[in-house]
Symmetry: C2
Subunit: 326 residues, 2 copies
């Protein structure tokens, strides 16, 4: 483990990949090793800029990450890309193709791309992703991009572990604009309207203005300087608008650092995930024998009407008191 | 307690009201008494028809319940009305006015109306409402109407404790029809388009046809006979269509009883609530001292970055193991 920690700290991508595999494991001995590793690496105190990125399929997410990532590495920055796709267990790993779709970035020695593990439980995905972010930070990456498809609660989850949250959208008619849920809009720091090129350029500009208008209608958040959240057009295909977008992200990040919002947000996020993890771990005890079997038997009695729900639930708590020490 | 149980079983409305107050209490001694009372009453094996009713404010819910309830009591049936409003804690008890708005029904000796307790936690609302339903059943009511405003998850909760779920809607233009969330539509057994009177009669008929069309597009559920779920028009104001609606509810209920769906659904619901209650009670342990204080102190360390989230969460589980026996 000491060796692995040293190699991760030295920025060794193969060691980083193995460390991520370790934190993705649910085996008890692996979990114990992962905890030690994370504690070890924490001491380095390295922080990357964590950027969450959400966008539905077809919006050009891979092309954007490829172009944006290559622009950053060309500036000498080290970029890690993590994918979060709670649906990948079902859809059969659509993210598996990421490395192929991001051919240039995946061959870049300053970049590291990690596909989403096939995993259906959102709670598990959250913990693994957070730990993977921590590993990438320890490995000295300057930017960690956490991308997610807009499915269920994955956007909220990613926003809760990112410093900045980007929403990548396609050019659209006014009617479609309303398809973006208000809750998602409220999480965005910067909206990027992609495909501002060729025939769609004018539509993209109009869409961007529409979203800018919609953003102005939202309640002002304390963590935003004047003019944020904002909407910008980009063309991942023509690699246009990417530097401007990065400059805006930096301006926002700098302002938040200067005004104490950056550290406060990280602290709040850490607390949020700690509390979520404590709850998840507590509930996981219900799935362990002998508790699991005893609860199943009580549930069967409830189903047959032999005991009231209330009395059964109280009996279950008594059983938990006795059995939890296992 | 024995006395209270006997009086509830005898249909004494004052004893019923006091019993509901008892199950609404969170005091430990009251909880113990409530559990005993519920076990006692369970033996009577009485079952009412549990009807869930949802509708947004302005749709005429109180007027409908008043007219529908009075029609049932006129037939000799005993009707209990329970209100579920998770928002009432904030809105300051809007349901408090129910008895005034249902003046005729509230004076009816065959009726019992219970306003929503002011309570903000949905988990607590669920347990209290289920227990209040059980008390009303023991008190010999034939029909228990559980009404809720369409706020957040309260509709799902009510549908999960009802035998039949009604959705009360207002006449609307085609555009507004889409405002009803698909998930809510899928829970409905019967959609009632209210206000089919006066100027709105034609619109109500058209709206009803629209909803009927929308219902036909939904996936067929095993618990539905041919023609269900269905949409009907009613006028609570003119007391029109109520008998037809009741006849349809009876037809649906009879079919489900004959085909084993009724009992199966009750068994599944009981199991669902048992499991939910076990989880809630387990999580409630995190809020009890000394665990609460120890977790707060760990959370503060996490916020200050003195310990990793992962390590803190594991430490929390160790503390829980030691402290849970209290």
């Amino acid at each position: 483990m000491q060796n692995m920690a040293e190699r991760v700290l030295a920025g060794d991508r193969r060691a980083l990949a193995r460390a991520i595999t370790l934190v993705e494991s649910s085996r008890a001995d692996h979990r114990a090793q992962a905890t030690l590793l994370l504690e070890d690496l924490k001491c380095a105190g390295r922080q990357a800029q964590r950027i969450g990125l959400s966008g539905t399929p077809g919006v050009g997410k891979s092309t954007f990450i490829e172009a944006f990532g290559c622009m950053l590495t060309a500036q000498g920055l080290r970029v890690a890309v993590l994918a979060v796709d709670p649906s990948s267990a079902r859809s059969g790993g659509s993210i598996l193709g990421d490395k192929t779709r991001m051919e240039r970035l995946s061959r870049d020695p300053r970049a590291f791309i990690r596909p989403s593990p096939s995993q259906s439980q959102l709670g598990g995905v959250a913990r693994r992703t957070r730990e993977a972010i921590a590993l990438c930070e320890a490995a000295g990456f300057d930017v960690v991009l956490i991308e997610t498809v807009g499915v269920g609660q994955s956007e909220t989850m990613v926003a809760e572990m990112a410093d900045l949250f980007l929403l990548l959208l396609a050019p659209a008619s006014g009617d479609e604009l309303q398809g973006v849920k208000r809750g998602i809009m409220e999480m965005a720091d910067i909206i990027l309207v992609n495909k501002a090129d060729g025939e769609l350029k004018a539509t993209a500009t109009r869409t961007c203005a529409d979203y800018a208008g919609a953003l102005r209608l939202l309640r002002k958040r304390p963590q935003d300087p004047e003019g944020f959240p904002k909407a910008l057009t980009v063309s991942a295909l023509e690699e246009a608008g990417l530097e401007k977008a990065w400059a805006e992200m930096q301006a926002l990040a700098d302002w938040r650092r200067d005004h104490g919002h950056w550290g406060r947000r990280r602290a709040e996020q850490a607390r949020h995930w700690f509390e979520a993890e404590v709850r998840d771990a507590l509930l996981a005890r219900l799935d362990r024998e002998p508790v699991k079997g005893l609860l199943l038997s009580l549930a069967a009695q409830v189903e047959r009407g032999e005991i009231s729900t209330t009395a059964a639930a109280e009996e279950a708590q008594r059983l938990l008191d006795v059995q939890m020490h296992g």
